[in-house]
Amino acid sequence: MSVLPEEFRLSSSGRDLIADAFAKVVLVLVLLFALFPIWMMIITSFKQRSELFQSGVTLIPQAFHVENYINMWNRFPLVDYFLNSLIISGVTTIICLLVASLAAYSFSRYDFRGKDLFGLTILSTQMIPGVLILIPMFMLFTMIQQDVGIQMTNTYHGIIFIYSTFTVPFAIWMLRGYFDTIPTALEEAARIDGCTRTEALFRIVLPLALPGIAATGMFVFIIAFNEVLFASVMANNDVTPFAIGIQEFSTNTQTYWTEMMAAATVSSLPLLLIFVLFQKQIVSGLTAGSVKQ
């Protein structure tokens, strides 16, 4: 029993209002925390070098200094780096989705010998830190180069191969959950309606799995686009991706912070664009299976 008299007690709508306001304040704080580095990246890209090294942090640049965005292209072959990144991430995503969607489908629909073991093995590859397989991978590449005569290091196919080794298992797990949410009765109806198993997969299942495939594809793209460890060792010279190239702004004598931030801002644009374009699919892909169909 509350000791407060009736007229001082909160009505249930009042309680809801306070709970709502509290939740919003927490969300805004989390959002600020998440967006702060991005804001700093953007404003630094508009600062002059002299302003950056003044004591104290300024949250708003005194003047918008757009030269950073022009000068950065002249200092290093950023366009090449950028294209390399797009090629590597794009091809990795395509290969990964092709392999993983078929694998995930068979995981979801068929029973085969060793299915559980295979599933666990795939999952366990995600638990091995990349740095552990870096040297074995490098040795493997060197062996292939020496014994088979196929150039592997510093090539597109080499780095795409490496990225596929850890994005495919991830994508299989993500898509498998998505395929599980698509009722098998739909395929059975299609098979009775005149489809072969393959036709049922391409005409019924894949179109329905599209949100999941889009979400998975985006994650794979981001993983490949942001990868630094393997790229720093095995993707140099002609195939240097943006994530590595951008480090060249840090030279022996000085670091071109403002131009580096300008380059970083530009490099975030494609990912931002993907998020905006596929927002609906990504959200529904991430929440797949959370509600009863």
């Binding site: 009765a185 739909l186 059975e188 109806a189 098979r191 009775i192 005149g194 072969t196």
Partner: protein, 373 residues
């Protein structure tokens, strides 16, 4: 000709010692245009049987023939069947029209115009003409059900397969759709195999019903045959709502003996029971009549369940409880002593070990509407 023949059909899941027999040596023949209901409790193998006929499950042994052609190893699309699923299985990314025309596009040489014409004809029959441009998510459960039926009908197959198509509908709609579906099947004259666990659907819809339990066929016959001449105790208990009353009795000196009563049997009945002493007595609730206390069986009233047009009275005979169908408005106080009387012609007697029926009710097994015709 949409005849269907199942010959010694067997399905085992798993292999070796762990194998589970889902369907055991099932043989059924369907005439062209017949409506057969496969009925039984969960896990009795009825859905597995239907899925084998559809080609969605492989058979372990036995043959399936549709229109006299062996289809056991054919793909579902090559069997000339259409199926209605429990959850309708409408393609969510297609409109009702696309759902209905999908099968014709995939499996026939019809032109675009012919397909449109057929879809619209069937949509007219199913009363879903206005819904053709809607996607399944925009339709109510009943409307989805109609589109799913339409999708099957438009194919004009040799056989319809229906897997509990009404179980997702609410009670009222289910009753309406039951009648509608039955009328539709009579109009189309397409051979239909209908799976349900609901004995009311089985009784009301089928030309014949096949009762399955633990993968084995218990009885196949008209609904009234299964109701009045059950082959065994399982069928007797499964068909009919409320179910048949069962009481354990012994046969002594020409009478059925129970701790609470003795029931004298006629000579002819005794002849059929020769050699049996332990028996299970089965009585349908509607075959029991309330008499005064001097009736053949003494019982005491427990609960009356009024259902409007009639009531169910639960009464105890010693440790056994029986259900009696009584007139609406019958009011009997708790623990009141009753006399129950049952005509001998309506008694069922079963072997307690094998469950086989030794004597059945003599109630007629011809459908009233067939007699009138």
């Amino acid at each position: 000709m949409g005849t269907v023949e199942l010959q010694n059909l067997t399905k085992e899941f798993g292999s070796g010692d762990d194998a589970i027999v889902a369907v055991d040596d099932l043989s059924i023949q369907l005439e062209d245009g017949e409506f057969l209901v496969l009925v039984g409790p969960s896990g009795c193998g009825k859905s597995t049987t239907l899925r084998m006929i559809a080609g969605l499950e492989t058979t372990t042994e036995g043959d399936i023939r549709i229109e006299d052609g062996l289809v056991t190893n054919r793909e579902p699309r090559d069997r000339d069947i259409a199926m209605v699923f429990q959850n309708y299985a409408l393609y969510p990314h297609m409109t009702a029209r696309e759902n209905m025309s999908f099968g014709l596009k995939m499996n026939s040489d019809l032109s675009e115009e012919e397909i449109t014409e057929r879809v619209e004809d069937v949509a007219g029959i199913m009363d879903i003409g206005d819904l053709l441009s809607d996607e399944p998510s925009e339709l109510s459960g009943g409307q989805q059900q109609r589109v799913a039926l339409g999708r099957a009908i438009v194919r004009d197959p040799a056989v319809f397969l229906m897997d509990e198509p009404l179980s997702n509908l609410d009670a009222k709609l289910r009753t309406t759709m039951r009648t509608e579906l039955q009328a539709l099947q009579e109009d189309l004259e397409t051979t239909t195999i209908y799976v349900t666990h609901d004995q009311t659907e089985a009784m009301t819809m089928g030309d014949r019903i096949a009762v399955l339990n633990e993968g084995e066929l218990q009885q196949i016959g008209t609904p009234l045959e299964c109701y009045n001449r059950p082959a065994n105790r399982f069928v007797a208990g499964f068909i009919g709502s409320p179910s048949m009353n069962f009481v354990d009795v012994t046969l002594e000196d020409g009478a059925l003996v129970h701790p609470e009563f003795e029931y004298d049997l006629s000579e002819s009945t005794l002849e059929t029971l020769a050699g049996h002493t332990e028996l299970v007595l089965g009585i349908r609730p509607e075959d029991i009549e309330l008499t005064d206390e001097s009736g053949e069986i003494e019982a005491s009233a427990q609960v009356v369940e009024p259902l409007g047009d009639f009531s169910h009275l639960h009464a105890s005979i010693g440790d056994d409880t029986v259900t009696v169908t009584v007139e609406a408005g019958t009011a009997i106080p708790n623990d009141e002593s009753l006399g129950l009387s049952v005509p001998e012609e309506r008694l069922h007697l079963f072997d307690p070990e094998t469950g086989t029926a030794l004597k059945n009710s003599d109630a007629p097994v011809k459908n009233a509407h067939l007699l009138a015709a």
